[in-house]
Assembly symmetry: C2
Homo-oligomer: 470 residues x 2
């Protein structure tokens, strides 16, 4: 079978270049004209839409409501929380002129909305009855990136950002944890087929203004780490800065405890980096805009191919008919392979004469077989389900294989040259974190020995997962 190796850089030789190649050749996205920006093309956006829909449903199930806050934030808002402004200042894009005049106060294009939403939470929250206040928005944000990379780190990106206010620290923590595990992890594992480690960030890796950042970390095809979603406990830092107070049941004025959490178009980048191979994308069926493509090989098989496509659609699958018989068949097949469509059905005159079709499963090695037309719908439906599970199992096995338990910082540096290392956080400490940093390695997250999320920084026996990252 032909492959598209010729048009893509080799994964093993130059993974970042392969990543850029596959994005443009599979028509997921293009570079925008302003440095670091991205044009998301219909095929890439189709994946994002399916993710968005799944994420949105789960977010609503936790009780949060969608709203929309302005893009432009008065510069003074950002200054109210000291760590926050320090963290975001270098990345801000600033509107200084509008309507033909210089603005009295410059407006920042939101890099994130804690400050904007904090201001309104302060107005809307009066009493304990108004808590918890659970808000989410789907929006674009702008962060001026030094080293932009399509989908992973773009100057503008799309995301959802959740912002909540709670009466107690416990309630805030429980909610942020629920978002991390029931919403984000569920989507990553069960839709994107990406195994992720859930853990706590060290102090230096925290979100600017948070008292705790919880993260989900995926392993890329080249053994690096990719942060795919975070949920932050903001303590009372923003409540204090924006005066988000409430009258308690006992009639005392208290400060609320807030959280924020976000997941972005980076999820699409994660999917590419975790599952892609030298022939191109491999898209998990659950987020595939096209789950099955039916290729008519010749003119005389078009009508039968269309009938097959109709049957598969009726079975609830997302199907595309490729009837461009005036174009070389090989090139069409390779192109669908590049695009990572899970199932390709090829219908040629000989197939049709044998009352059969050729089925190629993109997510399986040696995934080619001949299937009788009578069994086609059931075979394809089963394959779609099986391959979703298979893809996760495959990625999980690869991840487990490439995490090396070590006991010293030197060994961690060594192991992180080609994968992740795990070691006791006590062995590492803040000084060890410095030494890792010298080799471009960071602590991706801390976990308890049983894999659960630590509550404090100083719990005993914490395991640190360390790696290079995108």
């Amino acid at each position: 079978m032909k492959t598209t190796r010729s048009v893509l850089a080799d994964q093993a030789t130059d993974f970042p270049r392969w990543f850029q190649d596959v994005i443009t050749k599979a028509e997921l996205a293009d570079n925008g004209p302003v440095r670091g920006t991205m044009v998301v093309r219909p095929y890439g956006y189709g994946i994002w839409e399916l993710l968005q829909e799944a994420m949105n449903r789960r977010i609503k199930a936790t009780g949060a409501e969608n709203a929309y806050f302005p893009l432009l934030i008065p510069e003074s808002y950002l200054r109210r929380e000291a760590e926050h402004v320090a963290g975001f200042s270098p990345e801000l894009a600033v509107v200084t002129h509008a309507g033909g005049k210089e603005l009295e106060e410059p407006a920042v294009v939101r890099p994130t909305s804690e400050t904007m939403i904090g201001e309104y939470m302060a107005k809307w929250v009066q009493s304990y009855r108004d808590l918890p206040l659970l808000l989410n928005q789907w929006a674009n944000v702008v962060r001026w990136e030094l080293r932009p990379r399509l989908f992973l780190r773009t100057t503008e990106f799309l995301w959802q950002e959740g912002h909540t206010a709670h009466a107690t620290e416990e309630d805030a923590r429980a909610y942020a944890t629920r978002i991390l595990t029931e919403v984000y992890r569920d989507v990553m594992v069960n839709l994107l087929a990406i195994p992720v480690l859930a853990g706590r960030k060290t102090r230096r890796e925290r979100f600017a203004g948070a008292i705790n950042t919880m993260t989900l970390e995926a392993m890329t095809g080249d053994g690096k780490a990719l942060q795919l979603g975070t949920a932050h406990e903001l303590g009372q830092n923003f409540s204090r800065a924006f005066d988000i107070g409430y009258l308690s049941r006992e009639g005392r004025r208290e400060l609320a405890w807030t959280t924020s959490w976000g997941s972005t178009t980076r999820l699409v980048g994660g999917m590419i980096m975790v599952h892609g191979d030298n022939a191109g994308l491999r898209v998990p069926p659950a987020v595939a805009p096209v789950q099955v493509v039916v290729l008519a090989v010749k003119d005389e098989t078009i009508s039968a191919a269309r009938a097959i496509a109709t049957d598969l659609e009726a079975a609830g699958l997302r199907v595309t008919l490729d009837d461009r018989v005036d174009q070389p068949f090989g090139r069409r097949a390779v192109n669908w392979e590049l695009k990572g469509v899970p199932i390709r059905i090829e219908l040629g005159p000989r197939d049709l004469a044998a009352n059969a079709a050729t089925v190629v499963r993109r997510l399986r090695a040696n995934g080619k077989s001949t299937v009788g037309l009578a069994d086609l719908v059931s075979t394809v439906t089963r394959a779609i389900d099986d391959d979703q599970v298979h893809l996760l199992a495959e990625a999980s096995a690869r991840q487990a294989e490439r995490i090396t338990p070590v006991t010293t910082v030197d060994d961690a540096v060594e192991a992180a040259s080609s994968g992740w290392a795990s070691l006791p956080y006590a062995t590492l400490g803040e000084e060890g974190e410095d030494r890792l940093g010298e080799s471009g390695i960071t602590v991706r997250c801390l976990q308890r020995p049983d894999g659960s999320l630590p509550i404090g920084d100083n719990e005993p026996d914490l395991i640190a997962y360390v790696a290079r990252s995108y």
Copy 2:
């Protein structure tokens, strides 16, 4: 029955003030901190989400695909189409600094994306096989408004903008017309219950850079006009400016014909202005985030109220249970009335003893009745359907009543003081348009005598609809 008249300005006395009041009191939206911006609160956003979903489905049914283009446009792009830049220049917000430095070329925050998308269409379109190219995006845009008004004219607003390229002028026109009628008008009429006039704009009212703008115009409660959606034929203006060319079937290089079309959060403003009354909003069931609210009057009716809510939800309705029995019942009822929830079910101890509930239909005069619990689901389901139809009929009758056919410009000015006027466009002409303008009146649209859309500016017998507008 109590009303909320006390908290809202009177519609007849000060309609614009009533509009602002109802938006904030019903918790649809708040003013943002940067002048003219808007915070869309969950209740307002819930209406927008239902509209968006309906619009999105219809847009996709025409064959368009969603994509996403960058927010920031190089200033030079806008200058390439002369009329376009002239039209938008006064409204632009400009990012001059980013990442701590002054930018070499300032970036404009998109006011609309013809120029950005034109640049990419030129890359993606090579041959007649690539046409039509049908793209849509859901996005925010920024236009610095002199006289901002919540939902109607905000500095930032949410919208979808469609951009398409076609091989022929006829195909471009047919597609833009299809969007106007099958997508926009269908959503306005059948979801928002807003009767609209579809027509062609006069030359001076056209979109900057278009050769034809088609519009849908609604009548507000105070007899003015509100433009609710437009579709533009851009001719070859943008193809020429951005070099969107293709090789024809005959092997000749040709310029494409492009269109653009948009609908915005203004639709929510239209809903308020068309249907609202002195007691507050009246939300059409099809776009109501809450179609039915079940109020437990007393503690002892909570569990029965919850059972009713569950039954209604099971019947596919969007239902909220109001069990805040520690708060005054009258205030709660007035609040739901203010929010325009189509059906309110009140369950007091006496109702329960009689195995009945009180049903109040917000969209009907004297809409209060007692309904046996056994009939409740069927009665409410039927009422929801009937009231959707009723609301449109009511608005249509009001609109028809307030359009006065006249024959002179003076009579048109007179009639437009309290409604719309219609007159032969031949009587009016460009000079007549000037005279209307002196009284703050504009031609909203031109129609053929049979109500259909004119193709050219100079068709005989065109009817002009003129009015003051928001």
